[in-house]
Symmetry: D3
Subunit: 193 residues, 6 copies
C-alpha cells in the first residue's frame, strides 16, 4: 500500500513560497530536524499560513500561567474528541516531551477521564472539552469550578482560546487530510530516567 | 433587567489599545457606524486580535469563487449549529445585506435544510456543516458531491476553512459571552424592492 | 428563485372550508392583517384544524399563572430545539410583541442559555426544554427546581403542556413544510421606546 | 412497595367532570371494561381533554388508507423511541388486538428494525420515526420513498400527523407520570388460533 | 408472512453438536419445556458456546449479594438500551418470574426511570446503564453512590460484569438476528396472587 | 504523582490463584516477558477469568479467514470508540506487532476513517464499528457490503463476535479501571526495516 500524500491538496515547493513563510519553515526544520506537514500544507495559502501561526504562537508560545505541557494537554484532549489524526499524533509527541512523560499523550487522547492527571489538570481539561464540545453551555459556574485550582481569569481565557484554536485546526487537518509525519509517532516515548 | 456587559471579560478603553488595533477599530466604526463588540472583546489581547482578523480577512474579504453572500451563509449555518448568539446575530445581519434578502438569515440559522436555497447553496452548506460537526468523516465523496455545482478545489478549501474559522470564533464568543450589538438585529430586514 | 408554496400540501380555497373554519380564519385576518399560513395549511383537514386550535387556545390564550410572553418563550425555545422554521419565525414575532422586547426572540431561538432572561424564565425554559428533549427523564426533582420561582403546580402543567403541544406542532410544520408568512420576520423589531 | 397513583396530578372525581367529559369516559368504560388512565388524568383540564380526544379520534378512528393496526404501529414505535411507558403499554395492547398478533407490540417497541414487518410497514415506520426524531430533515425524498408502497399523499399526512400527535402525547404522559392500567399488560397476548 | 428463522446463521442439528453442548441443551429443554434459541444459535460454535454459558452462569447463577431478580433487571434494562429483541423478550420473561411481578419487565425495558423500583434498584440500574452506555466515565463517585444501598464491592463488580456480559450478548443477538422463542412473550404475565 | 494501582479492585497474589489460572498467567509471562494487567485483575474471579480467556482464545487465536492483524484492528477500533485505555494501549501494541506497522494502531484508535487501510480493512471496520455502536440496526445490507471483500459468512461471524467480546471487555476494563502495563506503550514502535 502506497502512502497517501501529506494532504489532499498538493503542497507548494518551498521555492514558490513567500520569503517569510519559507523562513518560518526553515526555522522549524532546523529546530525539529524535519518540517511538520501542517507547515507545508498551509504554505499554499500564505496569508492563512501567517494568521494561523501567529494565532498559534500567541497562545502556545507566549509566557503565561499555563505550563507548556498543560497547553499541549488541552490540544491532545480536544483533538482526541474531534478524531484529528494529525493533531493527536503531532501534539501527542510534543506533550510527551514537554510533560517528560511517555505515557500521558496516549492516555489523554484515548480517555482524559482515566489519564494520570492531578486535580488541576482534570479541571482544566473538563473546561477545555466543554468549550470544544458544547461551548454554548459555558457559564459562570464553569469559571467558578476552575478557581480552586489557581487559574487566573487570564489563564481561563488561554484554556478556552487554545480549545477554540484547535477546534479550527482539527477541522482544517481533517478536511484537508493532513498527514502527520512519521517522526512524531516515536518522539518522547523513551521512559523517564 | 440590566443589560449584561459586552463580554465576560472587560474590554479595554480604546486609548489603551495599540495603534494598529485602534485604527482597525476606528475604520470599522467609520464604515458601519458602530463598533461590533467582537472587536472590543478581542482588543484586550492585541496579538490574538491581529491574528483573528488577519484570518478573517484572508477568508471573508479576499476575491474568490464564493460570493460574499455564500461565505456569510456558511458562517450563519455553522454558527446556528453551535448556538453562537454573537455570530448568528452579527453575521445574520451581514448575510441579509450581502444576499439582499431579509429572510435568508433567520431561515439558515433555524434550519438550513428548509431555507430558500438553490442546489449549489445546499451542497455548499451540507459540506460546511459536515466540517463543523464531524470533520473526521470528510472524505473524497464529499469533494465529489460538490463538483456538479461548479466549485473549484480552491473554493472547497474556502468552504472548509470558513467553517473551521467559525468553529473557533463560535467557541470564543460562547466562552467569553460576547454580546451582539443591538444594531445587528434590525439591519437588512427591510423588504426587497 | 421562485418562492415555495405555503406548504407541501395545497391549501384549500377559503370558500371550500367549513363555515366555522372560515370564520376563525377571517377573525385572525381581521386581527393581524394577514392569515398566518398554519391556518391555511391545516384548513384542509377541518377536524384536525378545530382540535389543533382548540388545544392551542386552551393553553396559549386562557388566563393563568404564566404571562403570555412566558408562554411564547416556551414555544420559541422548544421550536428552536426542533429546528422548526415556521414556529420560530411566527412565534418569535409574537414573543417580541408580547415581551415588548425586539431582541428576545432571536436570543431564545439561538441559545436560551445565553438569552437575557431572569431566573424564573431560565428555570421555566430548562423544564420546557427537558420536556421537549428527554421527557422520559422528568422526575420529582424537576418539579422541585421550579418551586422557588413561584410556579404553581397548575403553572407547571401549563409549561409541560405547551412544550408538548409544540412538539406536535413543530413536527407538523416540518413534515408539511409550512412556510412562515413574510410579515412575521419584521414584526416587533422596532426598538423599545 | 405501594403502587404509585395514576399520575403526578390528582384525577378529579368523575362527578366533578363536565357532562360531556363524563359521558366520554363512561362510554370508554362500557366498551373496554375499564377506564384507561389517560382519560382520568386529562379530565382535570376539560378543554384540553376535549381537544386531545378530538385530535386523537380525527387521526386514529376515522376511515382512511392506513389500517387501524398500522396506525397503532406508528404509535408504539414512536412511543418506544420516546420511552413513554403509558403509550407503549396501552397502545401495545391495542396493536396486539388490531393486528391479531400477540408478538408484534413488544417487537416494535424494542426495535422496529428487527420486528416481523412487511416492506410497507417498514417504510411507514421509517418515515414516522424520522418525523418523531428529526422532523427538521423531512424532505421530498422521504415522500418519494413511500410511493412504491401504495401510500397516498393523504396517507402520508396521516402517518406524519399520528407521529406528531404522539410526540405530544408521550411528553404529556412522561411529564405527568401517567401510569398505564394493569389491564393493558395482558390484553391481546393469547396466541393466534 | 412467514416467520423468519431463529437466526441469520443456520443452527446445527443437535446430533451434530458435541456431547457437552447437547447435554446442556437437553438440560435446559427439560427444565424450561423448550430450548431458548440462543442455545441453538451459538451451538454451531461449540467453544464460544461453552465460554458464553460459563460466563453467564458465573454471573447469573452463582450465589451472591444480588438477588436473581436484580440480576435480570440489569439484563432487561441494558438490553432495552441496546434495542436487543432477543434479550428483552427472553430475560423479560425470566425477570417477571424471578421478581414475581408481571409488570416489571415491560416497565424496565421501556423506561427504567419510570418503573416501579425501590431506591436500591434505581441506584443499581443507574450504575449498570452507565456501564452499558458510557463506561469510560465510570469513576469513584459512581461507586460511592451505591454505598448507601448496601451493595458490597463484590456486588458492584457483579453489576458491572452483568452489564458488560450483556453488552456482548446484545451485540451477538442483534448481529446474528437471534429470534426469541414465542414462549417467552407470555411467561410470567399472570397477575400475582 | 503516585501511579494508580493496576485496577480499582486489588489483584490477588498469584499464590492465591487456582492452579490453572496461575499456569495461564505464568505462560503469558514467559511468552511476553511480563504479565498484562488484565490477567491479574480478572484472577480474583477464577470462573470469570476462565470464561473470559476461553472466549478470547476462541476468537483471537484460532485459525480462520481473518488475519491476526485484522482481528487486532477490530479490537483497537472498537476500543477507541469506547474510550478504553487498557484495550487501546495493550491491543494497539499487539496490532503494531502483528501488522508489522508502527503507525497503524494510533491511526486506527484516533480515527479509523483516516487510517492507512485497504478497502477490505475499511469494510471490516465499518461493520465492526456498527456492531459496537448500533448493533440494533445491523441488517442484510451490512452483510452484503462485506461480500466483495472476500469475507465468508464465518468471517463475518468472527468480526461481529470480536466486536461484541470487546464491547464486554472495554466495559470491564473501564468499570474496574484496569491499567495498561507500561511495556505496551513502546512495543512495536520501531520502524519497519
Amino acid at each position: 500500500m502506497q502512502k497517501p500524500p501529506i494532504s489532499r491538496y498538493p503542497a507548494p515547493g518551498l521555492e514558490d513560497a513567500p520569503q517569510d513563510v519559507r523562513e518560518r519553515i526553515e526555522a522549524v526544520r532546523e529546530k525539529s530536524g524535519f518540517v511538520p506537514n501542517v507547515f507545508l500544507a498551509l504554505a499554499r495559502r500564505p496569508e492563512e499560513f501567517r494568521a494561523f501561526f501567529a494565532y498559534h504562537d500567541a497562545l502556545m508560545e507566549k509566557p503565561g500561567g499555563l505550563t507548556k505541557a498543560e497547553r499541549e494537554m488541552i490540544v491532545v484532549a480536544t483533538s482526541g474528541l474531534n478524531h484529528c489524526q494529525y493533531c493527536v499524533v503531532a501534539h501527542g509527541a510534543i506533550l510527551r516531551i514537554r510533560a517528560k512523560n511517555p505515557l500521558i499523550a496516549d492516555q489523554v487522547a484515548v480517555n482524559p477521564l482515566k489519564a494520570d492527571l492531578n486535580a488541576r489538570e482534570r479541571a482544566m481539561l473538563a473546561f477545555a472539552l466543554k468549550v470544544a464540545e458544547r461551548s454554548y453551555a459555558i457559564d459562570e459556574e464553569d469559571f467558578v469550578a476552575l478557581a480552586p485550582h489557581a487559574f487566573s481569569y487570564e489563564d481561563i481565557w488561554d484554556i478556552a482560546a487554545i480549545a477554540a484554536l484547535f477546534a479550527m485546526s482539527n477541522r482544517l487537518a481533517n478536511a484537508f487530510a493532513i498527514r502527520p509525519n512519521e517522526e512524531f509517532y516515536l518522539m518522547g516515548r523513551e521512559p523517564r530516567r
